[in-house]
């Protein structure tokens, strides 16, 4: 420990007045901070604050417009990510960059295969992967194709790949967004082991509480400017949020609505897994008009499968789904939407948005029939629908004709929600509506749902963050292994929810 102590604290990598502009848009406006040896530095900031831009600069993916990167006291420029990697800096990207058809082993050693006398030394690679998986406490076989793994396991593979390089500085951009609580704990243990070996970690996460448990320093960005930089001892959650958002935030409280009739009734629903056991196991749930129900659970608890079965993407092996008194299990997705049941899927890039279409076309996609007159669509009716949707869900965009990729994550999520709200649903199901969006956008999304409930909409949303359960929901359902393990009203404590989900409250 004494040896490590003499090294820790020394600045290994520093940003000096780093700025990045794209044309007239300033993504970063002069950022200064240090990364200390063997410590964790966390970047906080909303979407669009410049976190990912800064990370890409530090890892050599892009070059700063002005300013310097100082490595070990000397200014450096990286022409590419490979050059940065050769100097000991590697990055785990926010979006997974794995080849789904290749095995875990081949993904981890992609581009830097271990060569033996007769070609690639697969046995040695496999041995190293097994050792990494042991370290990460994951039971993943090196020869499994990546596409057969859960999203969380894929993220573990991504982390294992970065670990296998032996870097001195490891940048992690939202490494935990798809991990369960126990997997996060293992990751944090790995991070502590790494820092004990003098590896410096740069960490980005939207889970503020989670990041606070691991970090040694905090850097807060807002609109491309660094608003605060402080060691862990001097900060708390409120301090971070204040610097991130600039003012107070509140995810809202349950709206005082009068509940109506039962809008959605799920009875003894079971959804099979190809492997044999049930992903959703004889689950029953009633949701009334005007009620907001939050479903909390870990990855693999069956939340996504439950919602996708209600929406018609998956087929149930048993049970009934009743919408306003009528059984809908046999209906297609389109028919269910027409009856007033809408799903906002978990992965907005994969299931929510059509990247080749404009903001407006995405917003109107689910309600084309409402502006079709005879054979043709009515441009004026569509324009009105798009204009109304943009206003209703407060999308920040230059207009309906803008490219969908030009929006920030939070605004893209609002487009997906706006698209489904435009179908005038009676029941809306949202699978992790807050995933990967910043606090400001989260608060707006929840406000929107509360407004919907006030007008009689039945809302069901899932979340992996306990603090989001205790916001607008009237009722909190905890799912564990396909069943409802507990049901609470809005006065419950975080600890009780976490205990019911099978999650440890420690750390």
């Amino acid at each position: 420990m004494t040896r490590a102590a003499s090294h820790t604290g020394e600045v290994v990598l520093a940003a000096r007045n780093v700025a990045k502009s794209y044309g007239s848009v300033h993504a970063l406006k002069g950022v200064n901070f240090d990364i200390h040896r063997g410590q964790v530095t966390t970047l906080f900031g909303e979407n669009g604050a410049g976190k990912s831009t800064l990370m890409k600069i530090l890892s050599g993916v892009i070059q700063p417009t002005t300013g310097e990167i100082i490595l070990d006291g000397r200014p450096v420029t990286f022409a590419s990510a490979n050059e940065a990697r050769d100097r000991g800096i590697s990055i785990i990207h926010q979006e997974l960059s794995l080849a789904p058809n290749l095995s875990v082993r081949d993904n981890i050693f992609m581009g830097r295969e271990i060569m033996g006398p007769t070609g690639v030394d697969f046995a040695e690679e496999e041995r190293q992967v097994r050792r990494l998986m042991e370290e990460l406490e994951e039971n993943i076989d090196p020869l499994t194709p990546v596409e057969e793994l859960r999203l969380g396991q894929q993220q573990i593979v991504e982390i294992a790949r970065a670990l296998s390089v032996d870097s001195r500085i490891l940048i992690m951009d939202e490494p935990t967004s798809a991990l369960s609580a126990s997997e996060v704990e293992v990751l944090f243990k790995v991070i502590r082991d790494l820092t004990a070996k003098d590896v410096s970690i740069v960490y980005i996460s939207h889970h503020l509480e989670e990041a606070l448990t691991i970090t040694d320093h905090a850097v807060v960005l807002r609109d491309g400017t660094m608003t605060a930089y402080a060691p862990r001892a001097e900060i708390d959650l409120e301090w971070i949020v204040r610097n991130m958002v600039g003012d107070n935030y509140d995810l809202g409280a349950p709206p005082a609505t009068r509940f109506g009739e039962v809008a959605l009734s799920i009875r003894n629903l079971s959804v099979p897994d190809p492997a044999g056991f049930n992903l959703v196991d004889k689950l029953s749930l009633d949701v009334r008009a005007g009620e907001i129900v939050c479903i909390y659970g870990l990855m693999g608890a069956g939340r996504t499968e439950l919602l996708e079965t209600c929406a018609g993407r998956l087929t149930a092996s048993g049970g009934e789904i009743v919408l306003e008194g009528r059984e809908i299990s046999h209906l297609s997705i389109a028919e269910r939407i027409a009856r007033g049941l809408a799903l906002v899927p978990e992965d907005r890039q994969r299931d929510g948005l059509v990247q080749t279409m404009t903001v407006g076309e995405n917003l109107s996609l689910a309600s084309i029939s409402s502006f079709t007159r005879g054979l043709f669509t009515s441009r004026s009716a569509e324009k009105k629908l798009i204009g109304d949707s943009i206003r209703n869900v407060t999308v920040k965009t230059s207009g309906g004709g803008a490219a969908i990729g030009s929006l920030s994550g939070g605004n893209q999520q609002k487009v997906v929600i706006g698209k489904m709200l435009a179908t005038r649903p009676r029941v809306i199901l949202l699978d992790e509506p807050s995933r990967g969006i910043d606090i400001g956008a989260k608060a707006e999304v929840f406000k929107l749902l509360a407004q919907g409930a006030e007008q009689g909409l039945a809302v069901v949303y899932t979340t992996s963050e306990v603090s989001e359960c205790l916001s607008i929901a009237h009722r909190i359902i905890v799912m564990h292994k396909g069943r409802i393990s507990a049901e609470f009203d809005s006065t419950v404590t975080k600890e009780k929810i976490m205990a019911a989900s099978g999650e440890s409250v420690a750390a």
């Binding site: 831009t53 948005l353 279409m357 990729g405």
Partner: protein, 346 residues
């Protein structure tokens, strides 16, 4: 997320740039350039009659490439259109020669309108088979249509024993004259085949830009999962586009055999590749979701006018192949420049 926002915001600015303008209108400028160069090289090129002749040749490819566009917008590919064209030509030829019904002891000579309808139905049926294989049995489009390409060609060869049906003019006493009307007649000086092409193009254009089906097609080509969850009947969209592609191949087959007044089982070989080339030159993305009828039409005319021009100035047909290939590669290069930056987003 934050990094992807900033560059997109910059490129969204409506700054006028010559490069951008030329890139987006590339198929149009290529066509203008081709017409200008050949008009300069040959006095016979820039004449109304030559344009009409060239256009009636383009019509065949043009009709096929509109069907191909719909399939490519859906993110698929249809390799069977050349074979469907031949099969439908042979089916039409057989009906014109008379269908012998052994059990009744008669030979039926259906009128030309019935021949046309039945032939289009055969084409649509084969196209629907493609669609069902792809959407319901999940056969990859490349493989499904490759298989159907061989089967359709084989059936056409079997039907004729490899021979060609000649003289499809029909006869007055049998009441089935008029088959050559499609290929030879003109309305107001414009060949019927060109009018057919224009009609198909306008209908397809309206369908894509103004109908709910068009929107479904763009959405399911851009992101099938998102489209499905938004209530788009993606399976029906898929079957429909392959059916339309097959029907349009049948129309092209009718126009071709009418122009030649003969129908051979080897007609239309490699036409599917020309149709794909026209769609690509017209700026459509092979990954689906992007492309227009206008672009595809320009692409078809670029290919048609280029090869006709090369013939007129007396360049060897081997060189024509080289030129056409170069144009296709150049077009794909341009497409990746146009979509390359945006495609990585998200």
């Amino acid at each position: 997320m934050s990094a992807t926002t900033a560059p997109a915001a910059a490129s969204r600015k409506p700054e006028f740039s010559i490069g951008r303008f030329l890139l987006e209108g590339r198929a149009f400028f290529a066509l203008i350039a081709i017409i200008a160069v050949f008009s300069f090289l040959s006095p016979n090129y820039f004449t109304l009659s030559n344009f009409l002749i060239m256009s009636s040749q383009v019509a065949i490819y043009g009709i096929l490439s509109i069907g191909m566009l719909l399939v490519i917008l859906n993110g698929g590919i249809d390799l069977s259109v050349g074979s469907i064209l031949a099969l439908c030509g042979v089916v039409a030829g057989a009906m014109m020669q008379g269908v012998e019904l052994d059990w009744a002891g008669v030979i039926l000579y259906p009128p030309v309108w019935a021949v046309v309808i039945l032939t289009i139905a055969v084409g649509a049926g084969v196209g629907a088979l493609n669609g069902v294989l792809i959407s319901i049995f999940k056969v990859p489009p490349f493989v499904a249509t490759l298989g159907v390409m061989y089967v359709a060609r084989g059936v056409a060869l079997l039907m004729t024993n490899g021979l060609t049906y000649n003289n499809l003019r029909g006869s007055a006493e049998l009441g089935n004259t008029g088959f050559n009307w499609l290929g030879f007649n003109r309305i107001a000086g414009i060949p019927i085949s060109v009018i057919v092409l224009a009609t198909v193009a306008v209908l397809a254009g309206l369908m894509l830009s103004r109908s709910a089906f068009g929107r479904w097609l763009y959405a399911s080509g851009g992101n099938e999962r998102a489209a499905e969850l938004s209530g788009v009947p993606t399976r029906r969209v898929k079957i429909t586009v392959y059916t339309i592609s097959g029907a349009l191949a049948a129309i092209a087959g009718l126009v071709l055999s009418s122009q030649l007044t003969s129908a051979g089982p080897t007609a239309g070989t490699t036409y599917e590749l020309t149709a794909i080339a026209a769609v690509v030159i017209g700026g459509a993305a092979l990954t689906g979701g992007r492309g227009t009828v206008r672009g595809t039409m320009l692409g078809a005319f670029v290919i048609g006018f280029l090869s006709a021009g090369l013939v007129i100035i007396g360049v060897s047909s081997y060189w024509q192949t080289v030129f056409t290939g170069a144009v296709i590669v150049l077009a794909v290069l341009m497409n990746s420049i146009q979509y390359g930056r945006g495609a990585r987003k998200g």
